[in-house]
Symmetry: C2
Subunit: 88 residues, 2 copies
């Protein structure tokens, strides 16, 4: 239950799909989720967090927000990473 479970935001999944996926992980797999969105999925990453926060309220805390870039296929792509922790 200690290592953060990484969830990469998918272009084809809805915000709601990701919210449900993260709730499942927090319930059954890990008390921390690293939610990571690349490029055009960065704004969706923030939407997912806000929708999850609406749903779980004080049940989660945002441990860390970080940004950066990685090289993929010789192109640099920006990312946003949100570390979400279950509060209790």
């Amino acid at each position: 239950m200690n290592k953060p479970f990484e969830v990469v935001v998918s272009r084809s999944k809805s915000v709601e799909d990701h919210v449900l996926e993260i709730i499942e992980i927090l319930n059954h797999n890990s008390n921390e989720v690293d939610l990571k969105g690349y490029g055009f999925e960065i704004n969706k990453t923030v939407d997912i967090y806000n929708a999850l926060k609406d749903r779980l309220k004080e049940g989660i805390t945002l441990e860390e927000v970080s940004i950066g870039s990685e090289t993929k296929d010789r192109k640099r792509i920006s990312y946003l990473l949100l570390r979400i922790k279950r509060s209790y």
Copy 2:
């Protein structure tokens, strides 16, 4: 020189336009810039930061990264806020 200067990411301006705008502010107006992007501009916000970092290297530090949402015209819109500080 103390209060952060707020820059809201614009749909119509390029990443490069914003980079130059922020460099001007850090040179002449304030040693801190709050770069804020809403909705679809959130991913551009991260691109702007990464392009600025490439340019200024250790000349800037990322003081704070935060996310949240605001209500505009009865719709809730997510945002990403990056507080960028001139190092010296």
